[in-house]
Every structure is written in C-alpha cells, then in structure tokens.
C-alpha cells in the first residue's frame, strides 16, 4: 500500500507540481497525486505536535529508561553499566516484593469489586425512573475528585483512630481502633476509596446498556426467561465489549495508584509498608534515594507486567467478548 502511494507521489513530482488550482475541477486524474503529496505534507504538519511529543517525551525517554535500567545512576555521577544487577537486586529486595504484593492485591480485589458496584448501580439506574440523569451525575462526582489530595485528607480523617469508622465499629461492639494505623486494615480502606469512585465505569456501563435493543429482552421474556436468565443470556453478552473496556482501563489505572496512598501514609507507605504501592516505591527509590537506575528497572518491570496483562486480556477476550457488527 505504501509502495503505491510513494510511486504516485513520485509521478506527481515528474508531472509538474505547480498549479494547486488544478486539484479542483478538470484535471481530476492528474490532480489526485498532487493532493496526495500535499496530504503527506499537511499530515505531518498537523501531526507535528503529537509526533514531537511522542519522540521527545515518550519514545525517547522509554529508550533512555531501558538503558538506565542496566546502569547505576544517581543523577550526579555518570551512569555506570551494571548489567542485570538491578533486576536481580529487585527480586531480592523484600520491600520491592512487598510493594508488588500490595499492588497485586489492590488490583485483583479492588478492580472486580469496583466494577461489580459500577455494574450493579448501572443496572439499577437503567430502569427508567424520574431523576435518573441527576443520580448519574451525582454518582459520577467522586470519580472526578477521588484522586485529589483533599479527598485523601478526608479519608485519613475518617479512618484514623477515634475517627468515623472507629466510632461505627465501637457502636456495633466491634474491636476499637482506626484503619490508618493498622497494617491489616489499610488495604480495605484503600479499596473502599477505589470503590467509592465507581462512577466513571458506571457511566460507561449505562451507555452500553442503553444500546442493547429492547427486542432482545422482549424475545427472551416471551421465551419464558426470568430476570436472572435474561441478565446472564442477554445483558452480559451484549455488554461484554463495554465490560472488557472497563476492565482494561480500571486494571491499568489501579496499577498506577499513588497520591492517595502517599497522603494517607504521610509519604511513608506505612504502617509496615502496607500502603507501599508499586509506583510509590518507584518514587521513593528514584526521587528520594536518587537510585535512578534501580527505579528505571522497576518502571520497566511494571511496563512488562502491564503489557502481559493487556495482551492476556485481549487474547482471552475473543472467548468472552461478543461484538455484534450490526448494532451501533
């Protein structure tokens, strides 16, 4: 394909490029290659901000961090090549393993719970009742502010010793104590914060539910399918592309949680490293200890893990995601 287009461009070069006015009417056949060449020029001109950003701020830095991952570098002395030392050190570093474990639990538990909440509320709102639009907006609001420092401060105040959660526990005769200082309770607290922001995937689920043709439900109902059967056999398959999209987006997002854990733990990742999320540890290594090589190795391990998970999701999606060509 590209071969033919370049050939066309060259042909246009031979056959007199001047006279762009010719593109409009009579010389349509001769005009097309010219427009093509103009298109190439315009294409790169219009794309230049993105291209420049991609080369300078994404691709270049990625290659650089790949190089740094095999070096010892502290920002002040030139990087020295150390081979795979950073990677072997990583997997012998108990704090790294702990941060990987904390993040894995957060992703594996937090994402499904959040998506289940989003789907449940979307189903609830999908039934047409008055005020549906207002509720949709209201439930979306936490997604907009959830990652802010303000909300993290509120969360901390609510789950600290003698805080709201503690009061409720004591009211019901449960053991007293805040969640912030208890290594076994910080993960539920962080997952609650994530689930509280179920609004964004809920809005996407709702939009997907609206696209399911009513005839399908009617046909299933005529065939005697109850609400549960209709949910499993009609709603879920029809919703699977949207479910896949949400799953992918939320999983990638969950791997990158940072600011709330940073604020709630006061910049330490404590207690007992129970809020030391992956990106948090990367930050500590790279920007407080200035072990840039080590942190780059961490970054690349994250890229590989997220890449593998994305690939697996796409692969398995063929088995459970149903794309209907005609609906849309």
């Amino acid at each position: 394909m590209s071969a033919t287009t370049t050939e066309r461009g060259r042909a246009a070069g031979r056959g007199g490029v001047r006279g762009t006015a010719a593109t409009s009417s009579p010389a349509r056949g001769g005009g097309k290659p010219q427009r093509n060449r103009a298109d190439v020029k315009a294409g790169y001109a219009f794309l230049s901000p993105w291209l420049l950003g991609f080369v300078l701020l994404t691709a270049g830095p990625m290659l650089m961090s790949l190089y740094l991952a095999f070096t010892d570098y502290n920002l002040f002395r030139a990087p020295t090549f150390v081979g795979i030392d950073n990677f072997t050190a990583l997997f012998a570093d108990p704090r790294f393993l702990k941060s990987a474990q904390v993040t894995a639990v957060y992703v594996l538990v937090g994402v499904p719970v959040k998506l289940a909440a989003a789907l449940a509320v979307a189903l609830l709102l999908n039934a047409k009742h008055r005020g549906q639009g207002a509720y949709r907006s209201m439930f979306y609001a936490p997604s907009l502010i959830g990652a802010s420092v303000s909300v993290a401060i509120v969360w901390r105040a609510m789950f600290i010793d003698d805080g709201i959660a503690d009061q409720v526990q004591q009211f019901f005769g449960l053991p007293a104590g805040g969640w912030v200082g208890d290594p076994s309770m910080t993960m539920p607290m962080m997952i609650l914060l994530a689930v509280w922001q179920f609004g964004a995937p809920m809005v996407i689920f709702l939009a997907g539910l609206k696209q399911i043709p009513a005839e399908l439900h009617e046909a299933a109902a005529v065939d005697g399918a109850g609400p549960i059967r209709r949910f499993v056999s009609v709603t879920l398959p029809m919703l699977s592309p949207v479910l896949f999209f949400n799953l992918l987006l939320e999983t990638i997002g969950a791997f990158q949680v940072f600011s709330s854990a940073f604020i709630i733990s006061g910049g330490t990742g404590g207690p007992a490293d129970s809020t030391l999320f992956y990106t948090f540890y990367l930050y500590l290594k790279g920007f407080t200890e200035f072990r840039m090589g080590y942190a780059s190795a961490m970054a690349w391990v994250l890229v590989l893990v997220v890449g593998i998970i994305t690939a697996v999701l796409f692969r398995t999606s063929r088995a459970w995601v149903h794309y209907t060509g005609d609906v849309r």
Binding site: S24, A42, P201, I263, L302
Partner: protein, 300 residues
Amino acid sequence: MTTATTTAPRTTVSTTTSATATRRKRLRSVVFHVLVIAVAVVILYPGVWMVMSSFKPSGDIVGNVNLWPETWTLDNYASAFAGIGGVSFWTFVLNSLILAVGSVVGIVLSATVSAYAFARINFPGRGVYFAVMIGTMLLPFHVVIIPQYILFNSMGLVNTFLPLLAPKFLATEAFFVFLMVQFLRGLPRELDEAARIDGCGHWGIFRLVLLPLMRPAVITSSIFAFIWSWNDFLGPLLYLKRPDTYPLPIALRLYVDQTSVSDYGAQMAMAVLALVPVLLFFVVFQRYLVDGVATQGLKG
C-alpha cells in the same frame, strides 16, 4: 424508552390486571428510590462531612459522626487563608490557576490539530501512528518520569512550570486526541469536500469549517484538562520544590505535615477550598463531563 415499550403491551392485555400492574409499578418505583437514595448517602457522606467539618471547631472534627456543627466557626478558614510558611494562600491559588489554564490551552491547541491529522488527512503511516497513539494510552506513564526528570533537570527547568506544561502542548495525553478524533469522525466528510471546492486547503478546512463545529469536544476536553491539572499531585511533587511555586495540592500536603495531628479544622477548610473550582465546574458542566465519559467508553 425501552421500559415504555416493554410495559405497554402488558398493561393493555386486560383491564383487570392493569390495577395490579400499576401497583407493581409503584412498588418498583419505591424500591428504586430507596436503593438509589441509599447509594447517594454513601456517595455524598464523605463530601458533606468534609464541608461541614470545616465549620466545626478543630477539636470537634475527628470522630464526630454528626454532620451539622454544634457550634459554627470560621476560624479554620481564617487560618487556611493565612497561608503557610510565609507564602500566601493566594500564591498557591495563582500557581494552580496558571498550571490549569496553561494545560487547557496546550491541550486544546495540540489535540485539535493532531486529531485533524488522524481523522481527516490521508497519508502513509497514519494507521501506524494512530495505533501507537492508542498504545500510549495503555502505557504506565511512570516509565517516562525518570528520563523526563533527568531531561528537564539538565535544562535547569526544575522549579519552573515548563516541565508540567510542555507535555500538554505536545499532545502527550492521548485521551484528548482520541476524544477529538472520535468527535471528528462523526462530522460529515461532505463539509471538507465543499470547503475544498471553495478553495480551502487543510488549514482552511480545519480552522474555518471543523474547528467551530468541534466546540462540544473542545469544551469537554477543556474541563477535564483543567480538573486533572488542578488535582495533579505527582507532577508538581517532582518538579516544584520551592514553596512559592507550589500549587494547591502540594501546599495542602505541606499543611498536613506541618500542622501535625491537632489542626484538622484548617486541613478541612483548605481541602474544601482546593475543591471549590472542581465542584463549580462539575455543577455547571456535568452534562458535558458525563456524556464525554460515556461516548469515550462506547467507541473504544
């Protein structure tokens, strides 16, 4: 609409069952509202608690489940407005504003232009670039922060806003480019053809025909760009180390660290103040925001 078509035949089958049908309908409506209000309470409680706590005396915040303050006070706001470490509160606001407005300008300029190239210009390699652009959306951005920091640090740009704003002018946030590509694809191609016959080049088509029509996408992107920049924590944490360059989130963090355990009131007041613009945007533009999220998911 969908429920209307499903329930309509059922109620018209016979008049005897219509009474029970309406009763069932009313019952379902009650159940719906009870459930939705329960969710709403859980959603709203932390936010309302934050706002109300900011008017309570500082010692009466933690553990006070009641929302309504027993005694009202504005002391918390007085100490929030007093600033931190000799830097005025308004300096933080101004820094946040410069960053947010700069982000909006950068993103709107770079994303509209790039999206036009992806959606409307035929040139070899476009498909590959588009796939790469989508790929960057899935990339954990932490892989680039270290080299970017090294780059900007070597240029002496730490403690300036440039490392935070330059990426926005270079369309590195693919979400916005993608949003605008999707929007452009929905506009009829005949518009381009008509403008071309009238003698417009690509710039003319973009500037005079399509850009004015892209208003909804530009508004949605601007709001998201503003709010995300306003709430951003990691970026300023890396690049802005001098208190007079701090935007609100970093100032807020400094406040939490400095005031130690005691002054929850001032923390709450400042947390509220930091969210005011976001909440204003939300109230005014909620439709744009929610619909923007909805269409993004559908076409992805």
